[in-house]
Amino acid sequence: GAGVSQSPRYKVAKRGQDVALRCDPISGHVSLFWYQQALGQGPEFLTYFQNEAQLDKSGLPSDRFFAERPEGSVSTLKIQRTQQEDSAVYLCASSLGTGIYEQYFGPGTRLTVT
């Protein structure tokens, strides 16, 4: 079956622009996670959704970062007024239920802010 998909795969933004990154989780997966992976680093947790409810946003680095999942399926991570330090790969993962289920990762969106 289809895995987690993300779009766009690559995004170049000028400093100060707003960007929106999309994640399509595996159909029926309840939980959805966003991670940020800087060059040469491991992924870092940003936020977590259970269906449409955002239950944890403790990892969002600033109020310029906003995520939503209005219908409990597709999710969008929005970054306002992008800055160079936002350059990273943004990974989305979904899992079947709540609790300790395997997280399936998408290929990521590589964001470059110039």
């Binding site: 987690v4 991670y35 491991g42 944890d56 395997e102």
Partner: protein, 117 residues
């Protein structure tokens, strides 16, 4: 809060030789432990996980890992590596939680496994 330390950023190994990738963690609560592999331009793929029970866990592609609570380690091993094992390997932890809900994973910085012919 949890943290993960992968002691080696890069490990070169000859093909068919054994390999061990080291992982240590720090946590004030009980954790679940994972190893993920990331091939170039691909998403992370779960290799294996430790939730409870036997401390030796076996995963895909011939990998295994041993949980050592006293040393807070979860080292990954493979007895004989192949060229196709060249990838980035990440160790990760998640706090065990009660009452439902899920926890984001805390990852190490990764170890680049380089297989030399």
């Amino acid at each position: 809060a949890q943290s993960v330390t992968q002691l080696d950023s890069q490990v070169p190994v000859f093909e068919e030789a054994p390999v061990e990738l080291r992982c240590n963690y720090s946590s004030s609560v009980s954790v679940y432990l994972f190893w993920y592999v990331q091939y170039p331009n691909q998403g992370l793929q779960l290799l294996l996980k430790y939730l409870s029970g036997s401390t030796l866990v076996k995963g895909i592609n011939g990998f295994e890992a041993e949980f050592n609570k006293s040393q807070t380690s979860f080292h990954l091993r493979k007895p004989s590596v192949h060229i196709s094992d060249t990838a980035e390997y990440f160790c990760a932890v998640s706090a065990t939680s009660s009452g439902g809900g899920a926890d984001g994973l805390t990852f190490g910085k990764g170890t680049h496994l380089i297989i030399q012919p």
